[in-house]
């Protein structure tokens, strides 16, 4: 864009310049919108429409600004006068507009207009006052001095420079509601949004009604309920989080002792107590932990319902496996679990079974979803509570041990903090529990 603007300045081949006539002062170097459009169309051999669009882009980025209506940054292909922006104020990515500069500009405007700023500018002013309060003396000093320096110039120059600055800040801090040209947001759905419906026919309204009807039917959860669920989640998981409540035997990142990772490996013979407790939180936790799943499988074997879990695992494999395997897997699953008289027949209700058998004719990845969900809910409601109450689980809990903390060394310079360093999220309280006394020694390390 800068090259285009500069080539417009060529005295022979550039845009024709006129003068702007205010009552007493005459300011040169004004151009009309139509001249700009014509020049662009001629130089780049494009149609008038495209030249108009290109000119509008130039105006929106602040390279040319309108003289009569400075707040509407668009190019009108008629006699409205425009002027070029000084290179200092060209939009450049190397120097994004700084808060301090904006504060100085607002202070200057405040002085000039005796306190009557536009609403959003007043908002920005107050916010900046809070944000960069420490530099506010500098802001006011600079604002006053810049105004005094500007007085040394002719009136025409002063006007032009004021307009230039105003345009720069209109582009860099657009008023609310105006599109921010400098934003580089994700350009999603731009083609859909630009399809403007000229006539809103009956179809349009039918679609709207359907959409709103569906929206009414959506389940909504009250935020108080959400927050309670969140609090209970945090309360339940608090002791299990290594950052919040320290990890035993010791934080490997601090003490260079990776016993913690060895003890909590996915498949380990003796899971820790915390881990076994976690299996009781929800069925999903149990299934996601390999050791948990293995023990659950043993339990189901004792109850003679192991085929449920096997079926569920097979469905998972189908969903997440490769596309090439899908037909063979579907057949295998059917043979083993779903066919009447199969070796490990799963107990699905008749309606789901009918639908699944229908869909098996055209097998794809998600063809067993309904059946899988049914079995999952069955296990969750039926077998899982029994598992938690069973002797097997209680035995696992009793066996699982809490790892000991690594002993403190005798020599001071090899002391390591017992627990992980205090989380920055925890506010320091004057009355600290004994568990947190350990991290006090770790401050020197942190």
């Amino acid at each position: 864009m800068e090259r285009v603007v500069v080539s417009m300045q060529d005295p022979d081949q550039g845009v024709k310049m006129r003068s702007q006539r205010l009552l007493v002062t005459v300011i040169p170097h004004a151009v009309t919108g139509s001249d700009v459009v014509q020049w662009l169309a001629q130089k780049f051999c494009v149609s008038e429409e495209e030249a108009l669009h290109l000119g509008t882009v130039l105006v929106q980025h602040g390279y040319i600004y309108p003289l009569r209506d400075p707040r509407s940054l668009m190019l009108r292909p008629d006699e409205t006068p425009y002027r070029f922006q000084t290179p200092y104020f060209w939009t450049s990515t190397l120097w994004p507009a700084a808060e301090l500069d904006y504060a100085i500009y607002l202070a200057k405007k405040n002085i000039r207009k005796r306190g009557t700023l536009v609403d959003y500018e007043k908002d920005c002013y107050d916010r900046l006052h809070k944000k960069i309060n420490h530099a506010w003396d500098l802001v006011l000093m600079q604002a006053r001095e810049q105004l005094r320096a500007a007085k040394q110039r002719r009136k025409g120059d002063r006007l032009v420079i004021a307009c230039q600055e105003q345009t720069y800040w209109l582009v860099n801090r657009p008023p609310p509601g105006a599109p921010n040209v400098l934003e580089q947001g994700p350009g999603r759905g731009s083609c859909a949004a630009s399809r403007v419906l000229m006539t809103k026919g009956a179809d349009f309204y039918k679609r709207e009604i359907e959409y709103f009807r569906k929206a009414l039917g959506r389940t909504r959860v009250k935020s108080s309920v959400c927050l309670e669920a969140y609090l209970s989640f945090c309360g339940q998981r608090g002791p299990h989080d290594p950052l919040v409540s320290g990890c035993l035997p010791s934080n490997p990142w601090i003490s260079d002792n990776d016993a913690y990772w060895v003890m909590n490996a996915p498949t380990v013979a003796a899971p820790t107590k915390l881990r076994v407790e976690r299996w009781g939180f929800s069925f999903r936790e149990l299934l996601e932990d390999p050791m948990g799943r293995a023990h659950f499988m043993d339990f189901l074997g004792k109850e003679f319902s192991g085929e449920n879990l096997s079926f569920w695992e097979a469905c998972e494999e189908l969903r997440y496996g490769t596309q090439a395997q899908v037909p063979t897997l579907v057949d295998a699953v059917y043979e083993q679990f779903l066919a009447p008289g199969a070796a490990r027949w799963v107990n699905i209700d008749s309606r789901t079974m009918e639908q699944t058998l229908e869909r098996l004719r055209q097998p794809h990845r998600y063809v067993l979803d309904d059946a899988q969900l049914h079995i999952y809910m069955l296990m969750k409601k039926d077998s899982y509570p029994r598992f938690l109450k069973s002797d097997m689980y209680k035995g696992l809990l009793a066996e699982a041990g809490i790892p000991l903390e690594t002993k403190r060394r005798v020599f001071p310079f090899t002391w390591r903090p017992r627990h992980s360093s205090p989380s920055p999220a925890l506010l320091p309280t004057p009355v600290e529990p004994t568990a947190a006394c350990g991290p006090g020694g770790g401050d020197g390390v942190a």
């Binding site: 405040n110 003396d137 000093m141 600079q142 032009v160």
Partner: protein
């Protein structure tokens, strides 16, 4: 008294920075010339001198441990304002370096942007250097050497800022500004009339001027009519 001295130096630096900012605005535009570049050079040299002396003075005061708490707070405020001013100066210097390189004057690679600013800026430079008026005649290829010097000076100022931050540690969040929001309105009674008139002109309303002109014209017309009637009566 050290505080008054520091304040005076800071005011001087502030004035020079504002004038420098004002001059840099016009680089690359229609008012760009070798004279402008020379004025820029003189202004920034003055600014640098002031900055060095302020820096030395403030550093000496703030490193003195035996300072009372409220005096220390006062000097910290001055320090924050000074470092902000120096940051502004450095940013302006960098921008003027880039703009000067993009719009060289001696062998014009590209024509200057016609921005409508046509007057001389010697008044601004004179204000910066605190002299009554300034008459400069720069040679044809002033800006070439100037750019090299400017580059060196930018680096120097950058180093000065780094040294400042190393020597004195003033956390910004502990400094509370003296002036409240909107304090600039209380002391600017004199700045009002001329700017108000110019803004009205700019807005295109122009009504008071037009009304005045209309009244004058009407009065002249009435006088002419009265004279004509008298002449007609007499003859």
């Amino acid at each position: 008294m050290a505080r008054e001295e520091c304040k005076a130096l800071l005011d001087g630096l502030n004035k020079t920075t504002a004038c420098y900012h004002h001059l840099v605005l016009t680089v690359g535009g229609s008012a760009d010339s070798q004279n402008l570049r020379q004025e820029l050079q003189k202004t920034r040299q003055k600014a640098q001198e002031l900055a060095v002396s302020t820096c030395a003075r403030l550093t000496a005061v703030l490193r003195d441990r035996s300072l009372a708490a409220d005096e220390r707070a006062e000097f910290e405020r001055l320090w924050v304002a000074f470092s902000g001013c120096l940051d502004l100066l450095e940013a302006d210097m960098r921008r003027s370096l880039e703009l000067g390189a993009a719009f060289p004057l001696h062998a014009p690679r590209r024509p200057l942007v016609r921005t409508g600013v046509a007057g001389a800026s010697s008044g601004v430079a004179a204000r910066a250097l605190s002299t009554r008026s300034l008459r400069l005649e720069a040679e044809g290829d002033f800006d070439v050497a100037d750019l090299r010097e400017l580059e060196r000076e930018v680096l120097q100022v950058g180093e000065m800022i780094d040294n400042m931050e190393m020597k004195v540690n003033v956390p910004r969040w502990t400094v509370q500004a003296r002036q409240a929001a909107g304090a600039e309105l209380l002391s600017t009674v004199s700045a009002g009339p001329s700017s108000v008139v110019s803004l009205q002109e700019r807005g295109g309303g122009c009504d008071p001027r037009k009304a005045l002109a209309a009244i004058l014209f009407g009065a002249v017309l009435l006088a002419a009519v009265a004279l004509a009637v008298c002449v007609a009566k007499l003859s």
